[in-house]
């Protein structure tokens, strides 16, 4: 019987069935559950798994295993690929012995990302083959195939699911997990040492491999053709399902070329298709990767086919597709009227509901204390990527910049150089500190830039689903790296610590940090309430409450709600006690 698997679980399962030995990752939505699944089932199957400190390190570890002839996989989200880019670009020239698969999850929409960048375009840039799954089942099959392809070509292969494949569930019929094959072992050879003379030769080889990969893909079962009249659609990835569903809704017959291998494009397949149809609509999310290649092929082969797609506005170049967008585009392409959707007029005004810091989140105390301490000073708060990015929302509004992982520290140093009258406070999470903050901290100390680095240590990587990081030792196989010791070893002279749920203590530390000369490291530690057991609950003494709503206005805790004139504390309260510390009349007390 098939199992209901999330796309990420299907990818992990595919890798296990393909015989991987090593799997590495850094958490990032929508890719995180790949490693979560591998950690659950991998060790029993003899697979080494780890959450690496960042994506570049993850890829390097996987590559090392592949150098020895073992199959290995590194998974990440699209921005993680940017971090790993340095290793990946050179790795394309060097190649691999054992199958190396990079799973890079894209996030059109974007639902949980800073960019909508298209990994297929990156694959083309890096000259690596890329597979574009249309559903969890195909992601499972493609992952297995990617290892064979990697070994056939001697190149890393990228599997690029998108959010709606990663976080979609589907019934998937599974194979068996075989025993791990023996590892051939690393063989010393000049081919592993990238020197200019070698790169010059390997670049020729790498370009030849593009043709070989295209030929391999010409026979790939992941590319499918149906001929059904002079109007054709070429589609890649998940869009395939939007196209088939739109065709059914509109009741039209179409010729269809489904591309599962967008780079290198299986040229012969595409040319044959273009010869059979009069006009094509190209339907793919994100960048016109297939469209550009099809236009080039049509021109080069002098094929008199009309090509519609993103370049002439049939489909948007930004944002996620859905069945309605694709149905509209197909209707326009075929010059027919789509079935009208019934409108429901006069919808009442709905509340905006942005994500926010959880009830009991220790970051709330950290932001509140630093905002208080900064009241009479000129301060800029540079932020970072994680749950604490939500500290930018009202009422805390304690984040003035957010760019990319670890960038808060660098931005603070740049701002400090040109705005010497302003104190710069860089907030960074514990996992992000290790991921990309550390080199920047070293820089700040070495250059003696007087920024305040605040590590918001909630003892987990919360936003992506509570993965561990080097600052934790969750079992005996891991050694905890102490953040304050790291700071000391880096040469930070002022290191301050506090529990952010103790406002008085945190406020004192914040004031000290803002007044201290030179770079300062502040570590505010309290476990994430999603992981730790609730400490209890608080309640409002309705007689003592003067209905000033200070607690609600200052903290924005979702457990605090106006109730008549007073305030009510919901059952989601975790007993952090921050509200009782800001109440001017001591009307909030612990439930005993």
């Amino acid at each position: 019987m098939p199992e209901l698997l999330m796309g990420n679980e299907a990818i992990a399962r595919g890798a296990l069935e393909a015989g991987i030995r090593v799997a590495t990752a850094y958490p990032g939505t929508p890719a995180s559950e790949i490693m979560v699944t591998l950690m659950r089932f991998g060790p029993e199957a003899g697979v080494y798994t780890e959450w690496s400190v960042n994506e570049k390190v993850a890829v390097e570890i996987a590559a090392g295993a592949a150098y020895a002839g073992a199959r290995a996989m590194a998974s990440m989200k699209q921005m993680g690929l940017n971090v790993a880019a340095d290793a990946i670009m050179s790795l394309a020239y060097i190649g691999v012995k054992g199958g190396l698969v990079l799973v890079v999850a894209d996030d059109p929409g974007p639902h949980s990302s800073q960019t909508e960048q298209d990994t297929r375009l990156f694959a083309r840039f890096a000259k690596l083959p890329v597979l574009d799954p249309s559903c969890p089942r195909e992601a499972y099959e493609m992952t297995k195939y990617a290892f064979d392809l990697s070994e056939t070509l001697g190149l890393p292969v990228i599997v690029r699911p998108t959010t709606r494949t990663c976080h979609a569930c589907q019934d998937v019929a599974l194979g068996t997990i075989p025993p791990r094959p023996p590892v051939p072992g690393f063989e010393k050879d000049p081919r592993w040492v990238i020197m200019p003379s070698l790169s010059a030769r390997q670049h020729v080889w790498l370009n030849q491999q593009q043709l070989r990969a295209g030929e391999e893909f010409a026979n790939s079962p992941f590319n499918e053709v149906y001929y059904n009249g002079p109007a054709g659609v070429i589609t890649s990835g998940l869009s395939y399902y939007y196209v088939t569903e739109a065709g059914e809704r509109l009741g039209v017959k179409l010729s269809l070329l489904k591309i599962g291998t967008p780079y290198p494009l299986p040229e012969k397949l595409v040319i044959d298709f273009l010869k059979q149809v009069e006009r094509v609509l190209i339907v793919e999310e994100q960048e016109p990767v297939v469209e550009d290649q099809v236009i080039r092929l049509a021109w080069r082969h002098r094929l008199p086919v009309e090509i519609d797609g993103k370049h002439n506005g049939f489909l948007p170049r930004e944002g996620e597709f859905n069945p309605d967008i694709v149905t509209g585009a197909l209707a326009k392409f075929l010059a027919i009227q789509p079935a009208g959707t019934h409108g429901r007029p006069g919808i009442p005004p709905l509340p905006v509901r942005p994500p926010l810091l959880c009830a009991g989140c220790p970051h709330r105390g950290s932001f509140y204390a630093f905002k208080q301490a900064a009241r009479d000073r000129k301060v800029i708060f540079t932020g970072d990527i994680g749950c604490y990015t939500l500290g930018a929302a009202p009422p805390l509004e304690a984040m003035d910049t957010c760019l990319c992982m670890g960038a808060g520290l660098g931005l603070a140093q740049g701002l400090a150089r040109v705005q010497p009258d302003t104190r710069l406070v860089a907030f960074v999470g514990d996992s992000t500190f290790f991921h990309a903050g550390l080199p920047s901290l070293v820089n700040a100390v070495h250059q003696q830039t007087p920024i305040v680095v605040v590590v918001l240590d909630n003892e987990t990587t919360a936003m992506t689903g509570h993965q561990p990081h080097p600052g934790l030792a969750t079992d005996t196989h891991h050694k905890k790296i102490d953040i304050s010791q790291v700071g000391r070893a880096c040469g930070v002279e002022t290191i301050l610590t506090a529990d952010p749920l103790n406002l008085e203590e945190t406020l004192t530390v914040a004031n000290q940090a803002l007044a201290a000369p030179g770079p300062v490291l502040v570590i505010l530690s309290h476990p994430c309430p999603q992981v730790a057991k609730p400490a209890g609950r608080y309640q409002v003494d309705q007689i003592a409450c003067i209905s000033c709503h200070t607690c609600i206005k200052e903290l924005g805790c979702p457990a605090l709600r106006p109730d008549g004139n007073g305030v009510q504390i919901a059952a989601t309260c975790t007993g952090c006690g921050l509200c009782s510390q800001v109440c001017p009349v001591a009307a909030i007390e612990e439930v005993l």
């Binding site: 979609a168 569903e245 059914e248 006069g346 509901r353 994500p355």
Partner: protein, 192 residues
């Protein structure tokens, strides 16, 4: 059958979606779901698409095509109402989750207007004070199970017992009793 589940991050929407998917799979149906995971899960607006039986469809339900709207919060029911078929059915928890932005006065929350709108614009609309029933079962967190229990009255392509078993399989043993009670209370609350 297409079911759209709407609500607020933290209400157990993913579990509800998985349970329906697993129950359908057990009955021999094909399943596709699309879930909201990541940033939006922290008190944000969350929606999950569940598609049962179709083989050519993608994971997202087109607008105006959902057979059932299962809403764990009234404003979220309103927000995703245009996914529902004109003659589709909706099962809605009437207890609002007022966002902090509304508590701060930065966004409206006209509850009565929203409930009236839902009542007047859905062909077959069923309301339930689900959090109260969850509390009665023993935990406010069992709200999703109350809704799943109630949902079994809307001609699902599988038995209520199959859905309950699938949901319990996703939960720790120590919360089974509370969740079983919540499911039954929801099921009884909607029986006519």
């Amino acid at each position: 059958m297409d079911i759209l589940i709407a609500g607020v991050g933290g209400q157990g929407i993913i579990l509800a979606s998985r349970a329906i998917g697993a129950a359908a799979l057990k009955t021999g149906l094909r399943v596709r779901t699309a879930e909201t995971i990541g940033m939006a899960q922290r008190e944000g607006s969350v929606v999950s698409h569940v598609r049962l039986g179709a083989t050519t469809a993608g994971p997202l339900i087109p607008r105006g095509r959902a057979d059932i709207l299962l809403a764990l919060e009234p404003a979220e029911a309103c927000r995703y109402l245009d996914y529902l078929k004109p003659d589709g059915r909706a099962l809605i928890s009437t207890t609002p989750v007022v966002p902090v932005m509304a508590s701060l006065g930065a966004t409206p929350y006209p509850l009565e207007e929203i409930l009236d709108y839902l009542r007047n614009n859905i062909a077959r609309c069923y309301f339930l004070a689900a959090p109260a029933l969850a509390g009665q079962a023993g935990s406010h967190r069992a709200l999703n199970m109350v809704m799943l229990g109630a949902l079994t009255n809307l001609d699902l392509p599988f038995q209520a017992e199959t859905l309950l078993a699938a949901a319990l399989k996703l939960l720790l043993d120590r919360v089974h009793d509370v969740n079983r009670r919540a499911f039954q209370l929801g099921k009884q609350a909607l029986e006519v």
